[in-house]
């Protein structure tokens, strides 16, 4: 299979998933379109690393898309009101996460999240699913940022213990 054919095949099978990831994290169609281009350029240039990765193909690809989108989020220049606005913006795709949470996400991670206090689990999900930073999580949970960080780090240690139990 030639490189370009392989790339086209990969794009056909993964672009909708990866665009969904970018859109979900960035919450802005124009930015998600930009991010998607960066994601596929990265996949092309970093494909050799997949060989030494232990992630499944789709997890490896989703990780690239998420990380690229979060890089964009973190370096995005926000207006002063941006933070509050971001938190108050209605979810562009409401429902799926809530539905899945109710019906049980797959994998051990959801069982382990259930062992955390509700607000701690919500903070972990908010970070992973919505790309929230420490600053945004602190605002949402109305605690100082350092408190948020201590919380989250403790929760991560508990999660790890559960995940590797």
């Amino acid at each position: 299979m030639r490189d370009r054919q392989a790339f086209d095949l990969l794009y056909r099978h993964t672009s909708a998933k990866l665009f969904g990831v970018c859109l979900r994290v960035l919450n802005d169609r124009g930015e998600a379109e930009e991010a998607l281009q960066e994601v596929f350029v990265k996949i092309w240039t970093k494909a050799d690393r997949f060989v030494v990765s232990e992630l499944s193909p789709i997890s490896w690809l989703v990780a690239i898309a998420r990380n690229q989108s979060i890089d964009r989020l973190r370096t995005r220049r926000r207006p002063a009101a941006g933070l509050d606005a971001a938190i108050d913006v209605p979810d562009p795709a409401p429902g799926p996460e809530a539905r899945v949470m109710a019906s049980g996400e797959s994998g051990r991670i959801s069982q382990c999240l259930d062992e955390l206090e509700k607000d701690r689990a919500a903070a972990v999900r908010g970070a992973y699913l919505e790309g929230m930073s420490y600053a945004e999580l602190a605002a949402r949970h109305q605690v100082p940022m350092n408190t948020m960080r201590t919380w989250l780090r403790r929760s991560l240690l508990k999660l790890r213990d559960c995940l590797e139990r």
Binding site: A6, G20, V21, R24, A47, R49, L55, N67, L73, L129
Partner: protein, 241 residues
């Protein structure tokens, strides 16, 4: 000492930083520093990868959204106007530089990735002509990592040493394991970053996608018994490209 009052051993600090990077909660500056470290610190990269694997099921609920048609054209322009082949656009650095220089690997990996996502999960690709097989050899609790590429045309297994040194007075030996059969030795792995092992005709007839390649620690010169005697420090499935 740890920078966390309640983190226990200092090693937790790295693992937590890896988790924070993967979650994406770090402020821009710390995130950039962590990303730079991923490029040069293989054990830190492995911690991050473990978190990616743990958290990945959360992303399963994300909706599929078709990107606009023009996005693919824009990507093609960025990738294919510059020249053929998945050549690194940005300069690779650190541990990855040597990998990128291993000619052909990037293209092979891209093909493997495409086939693996294109075929319905969890089936693995079994191309009609299994001319090239790739395996990533690693094991938890071990620093030893190799990449193996088998090319039927050359009767050789090419091995790329990624990390983990052999102890003085011992050797790494490569084994092929087919289903539940006893391991078959493919020989002692010469030291070096890019080495090749000839494949005997009997092994060549058997080598196939789904077989496992494993690396064990043996006395210098190889296993005296013909079967692995030391611990297996790296292993992985062969996948067709």
């Amino acid at each position: 000492m740890s920078n966390l009052d309640d983190s226990g051993p200092a090693a937790d600090g790295d693992d937590l930083l890896a988790a924070e990077y993967v979650l994406g909660v770090l402020p821009a500056e710390e995130r950039r520093a962590a990303a730079a470290r991923l490029e040069r610190d293989a054990s830190f990269a492995r911690l991050a990868e473990r978190w990616e694997a743990h958290l990945a099921p959360l992303a399963e609920s994300w909706q599929l959204v078709e990107p606009p048609e023009w996005a693919k054209a824009a990507i093609d322009r960025r990738l294919f106007q510059a020249g053929p082949g998945p050549a690194p656009v940005a300069a690779a650095s650190g541990i990855w530089q040597s990998l990128a220089l291993w000619r052909g690997l990037a293209g092979a990996a891209l093909a493997a990735l495409a086939l693996m996502v294109a075929l319905p999960w969890p089936e693995r690709p079994v191309p009609a002509q299994r001319s090239q097989l790739v395996a990533s050899l690693a094991a938890s609790g071990s620093e030893v990592r190799y990449l193996a590429v088998y090319d039927a045309a050359s009767d050789e297994v090419a091995l790329r040493h990624v990390s983990g040194e052999r102890a003085p007075g011992s050797d790494f030996e490569l084994w092929m394991i087919e289903g539940s059969n006893a391991p078959v030795s493919m020989g002692v792995i010469p030291s070096g970053t890019a080495v090749r092992l000839p494949v005997a005709p009997a092994a060549k007839a058997k080598l196939d996608s789904g077989d496992v390649l494993a690396v064990s620690v043996e006395p210098a010169g190889g296993s005296p018994s013909g079967q692995p005697t030391g611990p297996v420090v790296a292993a992985g499935d062969l996948q067709g490209i």
